[in-house]
Symmetry: C2
Subunit: 340 residues, 2 copies
């Protein structure tokens, strides 16, 4: 009998993951709203966040955190980064000994610049932790489109436990032990997606976007490696995969913000028209700060941070990027760190 799974968070991604897990293991989905939980339980559909997708009959739903995590061996945290710590504090008293807590969020905590798994480590030092990340748009995964993801945990057995409850024919789950690399990649790709959108908004073509994606990947890799991640992670689903999906998707909020900035719309107008803040806006400055702390230059992220704080324009930012001196493609130390 597979261990019980708790999915904490009834948004589109939490619901999707809960539906996948329920095929393999006893699964409970926690939604904050009692009304939504009752509606999902009754209709076998999350009409608010994943309308039109029939959920397995075996999936249990609750708005009671104790009921959700009480018997769980795996707790999958599908709450946004800004609510992560608060929910974790609430569920901590109910968490069984030995249960693993896996983050499904992509971002760093505002104010502390902490990764989600660091928050788990701080609040629940005895709980194994990790992260599930990759190019995963909930509506596509829920719709059965082939997709792939990575689950990383320091202890590879923990990653395999997550893999065993989620891996299937249309959703492929690969394991990794690089938690830091996976979390940095997931948070930082949103900043590059803003730059890619900006290029599109300025009227540039596919080469320009591809160059930004590639040079963006190089700077993500540099900072990720400097922070303790592995370069290969950035060449995988958590890095290239998610970066490409986000930079080229018509459905990416971060790319959409960049497009509008490139078209000349002021930042406040762009933000005023959005229901949710694009995470790249919040991540740019902390990312540049984290990178500076380990002596890494992030030319693209620096320009995005300057646009966000109003000290430069998209045109000037792109001009600055294109006027950097000619050099070797990897002439910045990463080769030595990776190949030494």
């Amino acid at each position: 009998m597979p261990e019980q799974v708790a999915v904490v968070g009834g948004g589109s991604w939490g619901t999707t993951i809960a539906a996948l897990a329920a095929r393999r293991a006893p699964t409970v989905l926690w939604a904050r709203s009692a009304e939504l939980a009752a509606s999902i339980a009754r209709r076998h559909e999350n009409a608010d966040y994943l309308p039109g997708v029939r959920l397995p009959d075996s999936l249990r739903v609750t708005s009671d955190l104790g009921e959700a995590v009480g018997g769980a061996g795996l707790v999958l945290m599908a709450v946004p980064s800004h609510g992560f710590r608060a929910v974790l504090i609430q569920l901590a008293p109910y968490l069984p000994v030995g249960a693993a807590v896996i983050s499904l969020a992509k971002g760093v905590e505002e104010g502390t610049d902490r990764r989600m798994s660091e928050i788990v480590g701080q609040l629940l030092p005895a709980a194994p932790t990790g992260v599930l990340t990759g190019p995963n748009l909930a509506v596509e995964v829920a719709g059965g489109h082939p997709a792939a993801s990575v689950v990383a945990a320091d202890d590879e057995d923990v990653a395999r436990r997550v893999q065993s409850v989620l891996h299937g024919v249309t959703f492929r789950v690969y394991t990794s032990t690089d938690v830091i690399g996976c979390e940095v990649a997931g948070a930082a790709k949103n900043v590059i997606a803003m730059a890619a959108g900006m290029s599109d908004g300025l009227g540039f073509g596919e080469n320009t976007r591809a160059a930004l994606i590639t040079r963006g990947l190089a700077e993500l890799t540099r900072v990720g490696v400097a922070l303790g991640g592995r370069a290969l992670t950035f060449g995988g689903l958590a890095g290239v995969g998610d970066l490409v999906a986000t930079c080229t998707s018509q459905r990416s909020r971060n790319r959409a913000v960049g497009v509008q900035l490139g078209e000349g719309k002021p930042l406040e107008d762009v933000l005023g028209g959005m229901r949710m803040v694009a995470e790249g806006i919040r991540t740019a400055a902390p990312l540049v700060r984290l990178a500076a702390g380990v002596g890494v230059e992030m030319p693209i992220a620096e320009q995005i941070a300057s646009i966000v704080d109003g000290t430069t324009s998209p045109e000037a930012a792109l001009a600055t990027l294109m006027n950097r001196p000619a050099r070797g493609e990897w002439g910045d130390g990463v080769v030595d760190e990776v190949l030494a």
Copy 2:
């Protein structure tokens, strides 16, 4: 005074590169057709292959190979892979001692499975050689859209010579010493682009495409490393950059072939409707053969080769890819090769 540059090939890419070089160095463009050469010289425009782009007055044009390469220090070969050897044989008698011969082609020679720089090495063992590659659509580069490229040569000084005549504000040229990696990446990405197009044609979304690009990159990296290239090259402009551009571009012939196959059009009908054969079709089988020779599995390229030779369908190919066993993301030896 910078050394003289000969650009051999008057197609859209050769013309674009010649226009860039002419800003920095005395440059001669060779076009096979005397008529085209005369027309370009008279109009300062290549009306056949790059209409609407004004070429520098200083650019000389000829259909005489001796005149083109006679005084050159750098010869940039902008001819397709299937004509590469023949043109090289013709120009060899005129080549000055010490002149470097750089390939701008993306493909392997049919029949021999040789890379372009291997052909240069075989025919002109004394000439320094290398390759210029990356996400470079001629019309975008010629139009002044920001773009970036890599020039690789065993001797980094040779790469720097090419960089010094091409690098500018809108076209950034990075240097590398990984000729093998750059050439394998440039040839093999077309096969993955067919798979990405196939996924789009089957109606799948951006996650599926991103997963194919990522896993495609992993198999390109494996084969490139096994053939003597460096893993980092595949994370750069020649790898990720060109792969992303080709897999997401509406103007990629290789992707377009995949889209039509995915939509159910028989291969012969797809090919019948094309003026030029997409290189991915010719590259799939040789690539799988090269990979097998060094003990590397290429699941995506194998499926594309099977579709090309008629032994499988796009639906069956995708099902095969999705049913491979669950594993670690890099659980195939490349980690050891790169990080050991």
